[in-house]
């Protein structure tokens, strides 16, 4: 938190991501957890795939997103 960022300068650079097929811009740096929260979603009700790999819920806070990352964020809906 604060200025403790592992010695790197924190630049609030624009971060372009593809989320559920939509190209969107966010302020970086951004973790999966921060993204899900910014999107207004409840982490307990969704699952996230990053560049076609599952992101375990327990690691959302640790996984940093990078320019050009593609995410799928899904949930359960009615189905037969």
């Amino acid at each position: 938190m604060g200025t403790d960022n592992g010695g790197m300068d924190v630049i609030a650079a624009a971060l372009r991501l593809t989320v559920n097929g939509e190209d969107r811009e966010f302020a970086g740096p951004l973790s999966v957890l921060a993204l899900v929260e910014q999107l207004g979603l409840d982490t307990r009700k969704v699952a996230v795939e990053l560049n076609r790999e599952i992101v375990p819920r327990s690691t959302y806070a640790q996984v940093a997103l990078r320019e050009g990352d593609a995410l799928e964020i899904v949930h359960f809906i009615g189905g037969g």
Binding site: N20, L39, I77, G78, G79, G80
Partner: protein, 263 residues
């Protein structure tokens, strides 16, 4: 429960026991409250669900989980909409992460108008899912050879269609359903085709372990009442199967004694 439908008649899949032999889908309802009420009336303990992208423009929209609690019902995520093994595996990996549960319903369908199970693609997806640690309940053709092969591959339940999805035509090929049941050591469920309570009862009388119903409930004029009817139909069919029906005979046979008549 009236004692005839005791817990000792549970069926088992993936190490879990289920008292209800009716699995219901959660699709096609007009809204989530009706979905919840119909599922409650059905007495089902397992419900099928689909996995889809969240709507980013309306993140606070009510979710299925808010109405059909995953802590009360066992969610059975399906692969509806997947046409390749790769899509099915990706979808169910997401479902496993979302639900924390590896029991899944595999369905790989061919194109409309039949939506008939695509069996080569189903075999391929089943193999990939089993390799990935999933417990696969598989929707399939009413083909005893295909059903046996799926069982031998390690599928935990075989789910042949009674009739095309959403057709409500009932079990069209009871002979093949019966052959599949007789040859299987894992549970056999009729999935797809049930149109009304008699169809569910008929499927259970054939000896199915359970029946999966969605459209017949969701598209009834009164879904909640039909859900209750399906519960009764499945129970009636199960009890009749256990009771063992009388032999069919070509000639009449009076029900009352023919002796001791007054003169």
């Amino acid at each position: 429960m009236d004692g005839y439908l005791a817990k000792d008649d549970a069926w088992h899949v993936a190490g879990r026991a289920f008292g209800s032999r009716l699995i219901v889908g959660t699709g096609k309802y007009k809204d989530l409250p009706t979905t919840a009420a119909a599922i409650e009336a059905s007495g089902a303990e397992m419900v099928t669900v689909a996995v889809r992208r969240v709507n980013l423009s309306d993140p606070k929209a009510p979710m299925l989980q808010d109405y059909v609690s995953p802590s009360r019902y066992t969610y059975l995520p399906n692969t509806a909409g997947c046409f390749t093994a790769d899509d099915a595996v990706r979808t169910l990996r997401l479902a496993r992460e979302a639900g924390g549960w590896n029991l899944v319903k595999l369905e790989v369908l061919g194109p409309p108008p039949t939506l008939y199970p695509d069996m080569p693609a189903t075999f391929e997806a089943a193999a990939a899912l089993i390799k990935d640690g999933f417990e696969v309940m598989v929707y399939c053709a009413d083909d005893p050879i295909a059903a046996k092969r799926l069982e031998d591959m390690g599928c935990v339940a075989i789910m042949p269609l009674g009739a095309p999805i959403g057709s409500g035509l009932g079990v069209q090929n009871p002979l093949m359903i019966q052959m599949i049941i007789e040859n299987a050591k894992v549970p056999v469920l009729v999935d797809a085709g049930v149109g009304t309570a008699t169809d569910a009862a008929f499927a259970m009388e054939l000896g199915c372990d359970a029946v999966l119903v969605n459209s017949a409930i969701a598209h009834a004029d009164d879904p909640v009442l039909m859900a209750r009817a399906m519960k009764a139909g499945v129970e009636a069919g199960r009890l009749a199967f256990r009771a063992g029906r009388m032999p069919r005979r070509a000639a009449a046979n009076p029900s009352s004694p023919t002796t001791g008549l007054i003169r």
